[in-house]
């Protein structure tokens, strides 16, 4: 008898599969889909690339052109949303988009290029403008004068100051 109960059960329920590719599929709030970087908000701080487990997000400096490249390759992405968690400016967000199949490899890459600041001393690009501005808020007044120095030149300057004792309270 079990068999007939199952048959009647199936008939009473009707179709449960959806005509999927022909009708859109709803996803709930908080769905972790394709990550998208907002180029306006990104400051190039590299927090996301440090957190990204599969290295789908990579940040590298193109020293010749003086730009920092934030490179997102969705082919490697595991949609864990760690980048979204760690981003200080909410520049990277996971959207609800999940239909990512494509014929062209290019659709899977998102590249954001950020202008870098050149060091006042050695002329080497060392940080993005936006990141420098972002951190500037938290700088002590006496640190501001060395803002436009790359870390190496800054270290040199600091040690010079310490040696010659001219520093503004830098101990």
């Amino acid at each position: 008898m079990g068999r007939f109960k199952l048959i009647t059960k199936a008939i009473s329920i009707g179709r449960v599969t959806e005509k999927y590719p022909f009708v859109p599929l709803e996803v709930p709030e908080g769905f972790r889909g394709k990550p998208v970087i907002d180029p306006e908000k990104c400051i190039g701080c590299t927090a996301c690339s440090n957190a990204c487990p599969p290295q789908a997000l990579q940040v590298y400096d193109d020293l010749e052109r003086g730009v920092r490249v934030v490179h997102l390759f969705i082919g490697r992405c595991i949609f864990c949303a760690r980048c979204q968690d760690v981003c200080p400016t909410e520049a990277i967000k996971l959207t609800k988009e999940f239909e990512l199949a494509t014929l062209s490899d290019e659709d899977l890459h998102q590249i954001v290029e950020l202008q870098m600041v050149r060091c006042e001393e050695c002329g080497k690009p060392f940080d993005t403008f936006r990141h420098l501005l972002y951190t500037a808020k938290e700088l002590q007044p006496w640190e501001r004068e060395m803002m436009f120095l790359c870390p190496e030149c800054r270290a040199k300057k600091v040690s010079e100051k310490l040696i010659f004792g001219k520093g503004g309270g830098y101990v």
């Binding site: 068999r3 199952l6 048959i7 199936a10 008939i11 329920i13 009707g14 179709r15 449960v16 599969t17 959806e18 005509k19």
Partner: protein
């Protein structure tokens, strides 16, 4: 005139057989809460298979392997000359009942031989199963044929369509209903093909056109057997025969595909056991027919 009608019957069978499978797929989908493919899907599948190149496995006995699908296919087509489908026209002669049984046997045998000659282990296991199933099915069929011949007092179809209304003829048709179910390789009797167990068994090495022919053969065989059982029931010269026939096909499709959707597969020994028991019943029915009930 008769020849044209037979040609129409044949054309009907060739076109409709895959459509019936498409219809059954739709019904099974309905019973499994699925959308299911379109009714035409079986046709698309066949067309695709016929377009694809065929590959012969290295270890096969090539002439046998290549010939088998054609023999299988033509033997079932030949049977359509004898059994009327949509129009009541057929070539008839004394003993054509036996010929149909042999044609179906030939189809199965060449199917099995083709599988054996493919040289694949799964195909051989599948053919082994096919043969043991065929044997026990054949025994049951022989008893049913005997019963039917006794009831109609003839070995020719034109005297047997339709069967007179008797207890034994009803019982014989019920048994025929079971044999047809088994012969049309459906769950739970699709043991020879059993996809999760032995990967479509006899069909495993076949590809392209050959695979298409063998699949087509299965659909044609199903329709042939449907027609056979319906011909035994519907009066042959009745004006509304055509409508009865089409309704009959639809009813059989629905019943068979419902059973198929809600049964688990038997093991070969279980299936053979069931058929043996059915054979004993058939023997008793034969006795009843001889007595004249």
């Amino acid at each position: 005139m008769n020849i044209i009608f037979i040609a129409i019957n044949l054309a009907f069978a060739l076109i409709i057989a895959p459509l019936i499978d498409g219809f059954e797929r739709k019904i099974r989908a309905r019973l499994q809460n699925r959308q299911g493919p379109s009714i035409l899907q079986t046709w698309w599948d066949l067309i695709k298979l016929f377009k694809r190149p065929t590959i012969e496995p290295q270890d096969s006995i090539k002439p046998l392997y290549k010939l088998a699908p054609y023999i299988t296919f033509t033997s079932v087509l030949t049977a359509y000359l004898i059994i009327p489908t949509v129009l009541p026209a057929s070539t008839n002669f004394i003993g054509d009942l036996i010929l149909v049984v042999y044609l179906l046997g030939l189809a199965t045998l060449s199917f099995v031989i083709g599988a054996f000659s493919s040289g694949n282990a799964y195909a051989q296991i599948g053919s082994n199963r096919d043969v043991s199933l065929f044997m026990s099915e054949e025994l049951l069929l022989a008893f049913i044929i005997g019963t039917i011949a006794v009831i109609g007092k003839s070995l020719s179809f034109d005297r047997l369509f339709p069967l007179p209304f008797r207890i034994s003829s009803i019982l014989a048709l019920l048994l025929l209903f079971l044999v047809i179910y088994v012969a049309s390789t459906r769950l739970p009797f699709d043991i020879a093909e059993a996809e999760p167990e032995i990967i479509e068994g006899p069909l495993i090495e076949y590809s392209g056109k050959h695979l298409g022919l063998l699949k087509y053969f299965v659909f044609l065989k199903r329709l042939l057997l449907y027609s056979l059982i319906l011909d035994f029931i519907i009066p042959i010269q009745n004006p509304i025969r055509l409508i009865c026939y089409l309704i009959g096909i639809i009813i059989l499709s629905i019943v068979y595909s419902t059973l198929e959707a809600y049964y688990g597969r038997f093991r070969i020994d279980q299936a053979v056991g069931i058929l043996k028991r059915a054979s004993i019943v058939a023997l008793i029915v034969w006795m009843i027919a001889v007595v004249g009930w």
